[in-house]
């Protein structure tokens, strides 16, 4: 059983004529009994379906395929009895290597052993058509529409398909299953995997050394199996005359959800957030509201977490117009923190892009801005990543110098982790 609670951080006061409302909504899901509370719980216990998509293209030869096999075996060992699963070998086409006949196997001691044997026989060869792999995963998932669907995708290279081909596959898979993506080595493209992960509500990560794969896979599958409620959506109501400027998740990572809105009625839309386990997610909501006179207060948004239309938790975002400049100019600390985190992700991605295009000046400005924001957020892990790409001369002002010789993996790591955020200090 998961119990959801939510809270809002915002400064509700707007100056006369002000229209833009910002709020941070924190949603926490905790395992709980039947205790009373305003948040409702939802029975878990739905079957999980896990599809492992392994890149077996020619470039995976040597040590990589050996470690990939090992990682897949570790992931399979993590599957508890009763979980539905399959393993797909990906090349320029997709091939299910386990189970042989059924679409999905039911995990047991026997099927886990059989699957591991099949994985050990995998050989590298062929191309990379990630869209094809995803489409096969979709087909397998749809044989059990009642399950909570998750896939894990491992690749070491760039997709050999056109963007349009990949988009078509993503369009079909979106909403069917979630997918976490992992890249191994230095030949894959961070932005490309990020795009896939974003559409499929997963995250993206760099595996620096093949021997780190097994632990990573185990952790991903454990997390996926821990999610007891699927198809959770944020349902955002705004009053007549108001518009949603943006809705983005800002913890644990930055993902813009604005474009994923599905209209419920004239004033309400749903933003899919996938499956939830015990966790905390934070959202930054921007609303443009029809202004009221000074002294008037309005509900500028109501944010509900819903499953099958049933509300699990609710948060209210307000707007109150005032003449008191002291009140209307105050910036909420939590909103400021997550605004900074989103800017940080953007600065790193654009900074690295400029660096790769040879625009050192822009790169130094943006990565310097990132260093300044990371320092302000006391994000030491991020500063350590940044340090490998730039020399930070003055973190407070964002003065940095680009390093001449940068390990490609360090740069990719910084890029892949650019969207990861740290919680606002309490």
């Amino acid at each position: 059983m998961l119990v959801f609670t939510s809270e809002v951080n915002q400064n509700k006061y707007l100056p006369a004529g002000g229209t833009d409302v910002h709020a941070v909504v924190t949603v926490t899901a905790k395992s709980g009994g039947q205790e009373q509370g305003q948040a409702r719980s939802q029975p878990g216990g739905r079957t999980a379906a896990e599809v492992i998509l392994l890149d077996c293209s020619g470039s995976m030869g040597g040590n990589k395929i050996i470690e990939a096999r090992r990682a897949a075996r570790a992931a399979i060992d993590t599957l508890s009895d009763g979980v539905l699963f399959a393993v797909v070998q990906g090349e320029h086409f997709a091939k299910k290597i386990f189970p042989e006949r059924d679409s999905l196997a039911v995990a047991s001691a026997a099927t886990r052993e059989a699957a591991k044997t099949a994985v050990s026989r995998m050989q590298a060869g062929g191309g990379t058509a990630i869209g094809e792999w995803l489409l096969l995963a979709r087909e397998l998932m749809l044989t059990r529409p009642d399950a909570i669907h998750h896939a894990i995708l491992l690749t070491d290279g760039q997709n050999g398909q056109t963007e349009a081909e990949l988009d078509r596959a993503l369009n079909q898979c979106e909403g069917v299953f979630q997918c976490d993506c992992r890249g191994v080595g230095a030949d894959w493209e961070v932005a490309q995997l990020r795009r896939i992960a974003k559409r499929l509500l997963g995250d993206v990560g760099l595996i620096r050394k093949p021997n780190e794969m097994a632990d990573d896979f185990r952790a991903i599958v454990e997390a996926a199996l821990g999610r007891g409620i699927d198809k959770v959506a944020l349902r955002v109501w705004t009053p007549r005359g108001a518009d949603v400027l943006f809705l983005r998740q800002v913890l644990p990572d930055v993902t813009d959800l604005t474009g994923g809105a599905v209209a419920v009625d004239a004033l309400t839309r749903d933003y899919p957030t996938g499956a939830w386990g015990e966790e905390k997610r934070v959202y930054h909501l921007g609303i443009k509201i029809l202004p009221g006179p000074v002294g008037v207060e309005k509900l500028s948004a109501r944010v509900r977490l819903v499953v099958d239309g049933e509300p699990l938790a609710e948060a209210k975002v307000l707007a109150a117009w005032t003449d008191d400049v002291e009140l209307s100019t105050r910036i909420d600390g939590t909103v400021a923190h997550y605004t900074g985190q989103a800017e940080l992700a953007d600065a790193i991605q654009k900074g690295l892009e400029a660096r790769n295009e040879g625009d050192g000046e822009t790169a130094a400005t943006l990565l310097g801005q990132a260093a300044r924001l990371a320092t302000r957020a006391r994000d030491t892990a991020r500063l350590a990543l940044l340090e490998k790409v730039v020399e930070i001369e003055d973190a407070a002002t964002g003065k940095v110098k680009l390093r001449a010789n940068v390990d490609k993996l360090d740069e990719m790591d910084l890029d892949a982790q650019s969207t990861k955020t740290v919680p606002a200090p309490r």
Binding site: R240, A266, L290, G295, V296, E297
Partner: protein, 517 residues
């Protein structure tokens, strides 16, 4: 709007000179409302559908004290009123309507006569109203303390707000419509602050609704949009307003289907001193199967903010003028050429109805702009700087009024260029207006033939300050879907002015012209 300028010579009072031209009060206006359940059906040829609710003589006598209050301004309202006579807000339902078998046109109730003893029992003494008693509403309609029999005219606002053929505009603001119907189950507790002391003499107890709306808060209807969806914290789930934070008259909406109006305080002024009057009147229409249609009366008045009392005076003027025009049309039907005369009578009566000032004080004053749309003509009359625009569905757009302002007169005299008319000093100093201390109030009148489908927009300067050019205004309307309802257009134009700063009160009335839809 600035105070009335000195450019206009004062005239001796001509009050009373035009009384002969006034038609007798139309009992038929009330009769339409009396026929509650039938109000959702096509308008009868003999009925003037009174949505302005300007009849107060017909209320219950004082002995029975059947007090029905406007939730926005706490003014008393007659049982037959749908909208508040004082501020124009939607009134809570009076009582479960009954006596539906009584054809309104056959037995028009005498406003002065005692209530019909055959009316349904008082809901207060029969606390189990049946849901079936309010056609079109989803909840029974308790009313505030209601000793005495129910007036036959009582009916749910949601049911009467659509004088057009049932279903003909089924998509028009269903939310609001449903909400109004639901609202009949809401306990009409008054939540609007300062004037609540008036409520001390009035019992606001209502029978517990048998199936009240789920989100009904203690504040009852939203004063801005009349929605009954209010959450537990008192926020309107349609427009978002926290009910207790609004002032009476901050935002009013009237929706009669093809005719709708929005009046908003704006963001700066302390009070909303604009007023509007809306009315549909039966009028022959050869294009329909039974030859009947409706004519439209729309009036806006902008109270001069620098003269105390101009807001209420503007409300009185708008109501009086609207009622007079409706009566005039009913009597004149089907002779459209008589309309300009009606405009003159309307302004005369409006001016005499306005409250006089104490000796030595300036008299309350307001502008006047009216549009009367029959099947063949749009007739407009005005005094001051409130305006009427005609927006054709084919994209053609026209301003039908010429401001009575110092700047506009300077343009007409060739003293300043036309493009300076709306911004030059004196652009808001009016040279003609309505005021009880003025002489003859003769509006300027223009008549244009209806040549195709379109919309008429009647507005105060609170709107046109932000969209003064006719093409600019037309562009704002064009941002909406072509089939947008009159209310949607009025709301949209109000929002345009609010987003642009809302420095003045904003009133926008929109008329859908024949041939639309």
């Amino acid at each position: 709007m600035a105070p009335a300028g000195q450019a206009s010579a004062r005239e001796p009072s001509g009050a009373g000179d035009h009384a002969a031209g006034v038609v007798t009060p139309a009992a038929s206006a009330e009769a339409a409302l009396a026929d509650g359940p039938a109000a959702a059906s096509p308008v009868n040829a003999a009925d003037a559908v009174d949505m302005g609710g300007a009849v107060d003589e017909g209320g219950a006598d004082e002995g029975t004290a059947a007090v029905r209050l406007c939730q926005a301004c706490l003014a008393e309202a007659a049982d037959s009123d749908v909208y508040c006579e004082q501020c124009g807000a939607v009134l809570p339902a009076a009582a479960p309507p009954g006596a539906s078998g009584q054809p309104a046109s056959a037995v028009p109730p005498d406003p002065a006569s005692p209530p019909d003893p055959a009316s349904p029992p008082d809901p207060a003494s029969a606390p189990k109203p049946t849901a079936a008693s309010a056609p079109g509403s989803t909840a029974p309609g308790p009313r505030p303390s209601a000793p005495g029999p129910t007036a036959p005219g009582a009916t749910a606002p949601g049911a009467t707000a659509r004088p057009e053929t049932a279903g003909s505009r089924a998509t028009v603001v269903p939310e609001t419509s449903d909400a109004r119907a639901e609202a009949t189950g809401v306990e009409p507790t008054v939540s609007l602050g300062s004037t609540a002391s008036q409520g001390s003499t009035v019992s606001l107890e209502a029978p517990a609704p048998a199936a009240g709306p789920r989100f009904a808060g203690p504040g009852g209807l939203c004063p801005a949009c009349a929605s009954a969806s209010v959450d537990d914290d008192g926020y309107c789930l349609n427009c978002g307003l926290r009910l207790g934070s609004a002032r009476p008259g901050d935002h009013l909406e009237m929706d009669l289907g093809r005719l709708a109006g929005v009046s908003d305080r704006g963001l700066v002024h302390r009070d909303n001193e604009d007023a509007m009057g809306l009315r549909l009147v039966a009028w022959p229409d050869p294009a329909t199967a039974d030859g009947t249609g409706t004519a439209v009366v729309a009036v806006v008045c902008d109270g001069v903010s620098t003269v105390p009392g101009s807001g209420p005076a503007a409300a009185t003027a708008a109501q009086t003028a609207t009622a007079t025009l409706a009566e005039w049309l009913t009597a004149a039907s089907p002779h459209a050429p008589a309309v300009p005369g009606g405009l003159h009578v309307a302004t005369e009566r409006a001016q005499r109805a306005m409250p006089a000032a104490a000796p030595g004080d300036p008299a309350p004053s307001c502008t006047f702009a009216a549009a009367v749309v029959t099947g063949t003509d749009v007739t407009v009359g005005w005094l001051g700087d409130s305006r009427v625009y005609l927006l054709g569905s084919d994209g053609g757009a026209l301003r039908l009024t010429a401001d009575d302002t110092l700047a506009a007169e300077a343009v007409r005299a060739g003293l300043i260029p036309p493009e300076a008319a709306d911004t030059a000093p004196g652009a808001h100093t009016i040279t003609r207006w309505l005021s009880p201390d003025r002489g003859e109030a003769r509006p300027r009148v223009a008549v244009v033939p209806v040549t195709g489908p379109g919309r008429v927009v009647v507005c105060t300067d609170g709107l046109w300050n932000y969209a003064s050019g006719v093409t600019e205004l037309a562009a704002h309307v064009a941002a909406l879907p072509p089939d947008a309802s009159a209310l949607a257009v009025a709301r949209h134009l109000t929002a345009v002015a609010l987003r642009a700063g809302g420095r003045d009160n904003i009133t926008v009335v929109v008329i859908d012209m024949p041939g639309r839809g």
